[in-house]
Symmetry: C2
Subunit: 337 residues, 2 copies
Amino acid sequence: MTRKLSSLELLERVKVGDQAAIARLISRAEGGKLEDRAALAGVYKIAGRAHIIGVTGVPGSGKSTLVARLAASLRAGGRRIGVVAIDPSSPYSGGSILGDRVRMNAVATDPGIYIRSMASHGATGGMARATLDAVDILDVAGFGTVIVETVGVGQDEVEIARASHTTVVVSAPGLGDEIQAIKAGILEIADIHVVSKCDRGDANRTLVDLKQMLMLGLSHEKPEWTTPVIGTSSISGAGFDELVAAIEKHRVIAFETERGRKRRLAIADFRLRKTAEDLLLARFNASLGQLGRSLPTRLAERQTDPYSLASELLRTLPLQDDSPGAHHERDARPKIA
Amino acid sequence: MTRKLSSLELLERVKVGDQAAIARLISRAEGGKLEDRAALAGVYKIAGRAHIIGVTGVPGSGKSTLVARLAASLRAGGRRIGVVAIDPSSPYSGGSILGDRVRMNAVATDPGIYIRSMASHGATGGMARATLDAVDILDVAGFGTVIVETVGVGQDEVEIARASHTTVVVSAPGLGDEIQAIKAGILEIADIHVVSKCDRGDANRTLVDLKQMLMLGLSHEKPEWTTPVIGTSSISGAGFDELVAAIEKHRVIAFETERGRKRRLAIADFRLRKTAEDLLLARFNASLGQLGRSLPTRLAERQTDPYSLASELLRTLPLQDDSPGAHHERDARPKIA
């Protein structure tokens, strides 16, 4: 493949499960160029079959290892499993840090499991859009279950995990106070709670605490679903059968109930907004990228204020221009020196 | 104060250091309404005297306690100290979690130190804009040093810490692999490194590792400044004199050198872009908020795709309308149900 394939050509190959084409089309989704939009639109229209599982948890909760084990457990049921992992990489060097380093080798060599790391580097709106595009690409490539893994810090990361049919929140014993406080913010989005590292002696306390917390909030529970709390050990494999069973049970809720239908509508709403925001910011940044140093200088010297200058910019930039070829829609934000 | 003061009236009170007015004007900045923009523009034009210190670090690095101690140490030099802490609160319940709970009581009772927690809840672009507005409000209120504290996860959080004159990155011994990996992404933005919790036995290893890493990267160092690595203990107070001295030394770089001038220009560029993005997204969300359920339904049923629908939306929404009173510019995004 020396010639650069168009994204529409890549889509044809994705449909028959070509792994190289999957990787390249996801990269095009990350790039966010105008020329690739038709292919991604095409992907969306034929996607919609896969069960999408969002997995999130605080740093140190053992998410990555749990996701690798979960992928293997779900795979054992015969389904092909895709994983999209949002990687909290450096916002400056752009390197993916967690990457595949922490993935289990056994998982990486099974062609029925596809793992893709995506850097959270770049516009945050763009990250949500590109991640959901990547999920659909795996869906179209025939992966019946797609896991989206994000770190549970940052609104976009949490919202992406929630923009799934089934959201799993991972807790772990023995984390510090600051981590526990962050964790409190994501507990409420769980359809299924997992306490990982249950091989540790202090895990039982975390399990009990979580269950008590859920008891207190029982009045908020919907009748169709009682949020389970499942202890797992990625070392011994304990709890993964129970987790897979809970996911399969929730899959039915997601696809066959009014509750599931409403959630898919909310996901569509989120996706439309994120895509529109991304297109809008891309246009803005593409237009703004051509400006020189004079405006920041006026601002740095306090001759004007950010609001007046921003309003002035927005009045003069061609934000309504959406013609293909007019410009490449890329995030052109320069970083702070 | 039963009558609701206008933001311009609040600004007059902020100028004479009225703490209630400071709190209320920062809340107006968070709200992001069109009617408060003139006052915030006015704040910007008369701000610019304070030394802004960004402090960031991974969850569990002991940032909050360090910032409280640092504020007290800087305060001992006679300057009034403002602190703006970005709080990784729940994106859904909107509650501030870390808040003042972890702040030292001694600090909280000194009127020369003002601490404000701001939730990271809401639009991320809006968070950067509102945070920088809050910094300027404290500047105008006469705080000679303003510390901005963010968790070092998430691009916006890191960029906010970097949009300061002096950036301090906090590391700590004994954190897990996943945390260490996230940490790697923020090390490069430091003007000053701190290793907290140096009362611990394993802290020396963290100090040595950091110094070795910096040695390897020495060729990237600018001649004006060699990034120091300082060990501190928030329990014993060790290292805080050294940290204050390093901050004072860097303050000179920030205000009196070409390097500092370039950085202020980059900060102005960042601020202009963030403000413009925020205004643009606010207009978009205000316009979009009035749409019904029909578009998400079409999307959920895959009758159309997010790109076509988003383009359609952007063509029809009045994004250029900036007249006061046309609508309130608030983030009207509904959350996923």
